[in-house]
């Protein structure tokens, strides 16, 4: 349940550390973003002296949320934090490594590159 002003960790090595959600991409009335939704975010904290810097507006896809993800087979998955991966306009990740386990839903949403980079897919 990510909404504007939500701070998210960054789950890849794209030199940003913390993002703040500004907008959820999708229907204009959409309130909350879940795993697999694309958001527009501003970088609140970044690794110094890198191409990405603080207060830069980027797009990201949400990888994990503290709010449970419910699947049709009855499985419910909850993560420990809210995290996102920085992507470009086509949906390719900006970084080269992903940290943490990724939910299978991302493959259905055509984030295949992210899924292939992930160390573990739940």
């Amino acid at each position: 349940m990510i909404q504007p002003q939500t701070h998210l960790n960054v789950a890849d090595n794209s030199r940003a550390r913390e993002l703040m959600c500004i907008r959820v991409i999708g229907a204009s009335n959409r309130r909350y973003a879940h795993i697999g939704d694309v958001i527009v975010a501003v970088i609140k904290e970044a690794v110094p002296n890198t191409p990405l810097e603080r207060s830069e507006v980027i797009t990201a896809v949400i990888i994990s949320t503290r709010k449970e993800l419910k699947r049709d087979n009855g499985m419910i998955i909850r993560y420990d934090d809210n995290a996102a991966v920085v992507i470009d306009q086509e949906g390719n990740p900006k970084g080269t490594q992903i940290f943490g386990a990724i939910a299978r839903e991302l493959r259905q949403l055509n984030f295949t590159k992210i899924v292939s980079l992930a160390p573990e897919v739940l």
């Binding site: 009855g74 499985m75 419910i76 998955i77 909850r78 420990d80 943490g100 386990a101 739940l122």
Partner: protein, 168 residues
């Protein structure tokens, strides 16, 4: 589909039940119900919580080592479907389950045996001390067989004559 074990209480989590929690180091915790999940969030150690299998195994309340446990190891290689194998496995599961539960209940029965002897001893002592609650003192004095303690009854000549009609 896989039947997992609840991380907290070690019961089986069937599909459609419980919650999986993924920690930041990608370790997955399965919980069978919100009771276990909430205890986990409270940071309780299952080895110290009395109703969990972990506590019971640690404190010797339940069987820990048995050859029937070997059958239930986690296997990650999927087996090619073979109808005979599946049929035999299902039959075996039933049998092994029965054997395991019989052995487990035997283990508990043996554990409780020493307590039974102790309880009987205590019960006998309590009866001796409290026989006046069970039988009236008058009845005890008249018929010494009701009393468990050995009481010396001085029988005089007059008393035996009175008792004779009773014995007939």
């Amino acid at each position: 589909m896989r039947l997992e074990k609840c991380w907290f209480c070690s019961s089986t989590v069937y599909p459609g039940h419980g919650i999986q929690f993924v920690r930041n180091d990608a370790k997955i915790f399965h919980f069978c119900r919100s009771k276990c999940h909430k205890n986990f969030k409270m940071k309780r150690n299952p080895r110290k919580v009395k109703w969990t299998k972990a506590y019971r195994r640690l404190h010797g309340k339940d069987m820990t080592q048995d050859s029937t446990f070997e059958f239930e190891r986690k296997r990650n290689r999927p087996e090619r479907y073979d109808r005979n194998l599946a049929e035999n496995t299902l039959k075996a599961i039933k049998k092994i389950d029965k054997i395991r539960s019989d052995r487990a209940s035997d283990h508990i029965k043996n554990r409780l045996k020493t307590g039974k002897v102790q309880r009987q001893k205590e019960a006998r002592k309590q009866l001796e001390l409290g026989i006046h609650l069970v039988k009236a003192p008058l009845a005890l004095a008249q018929d010494s067989s009701l009393c468990l303690l050995k009481i010396k009854v001085n029988v005089s000549q007059a008393q035996t004559e009175e008792n004779q009609p009773m014995e007939e």
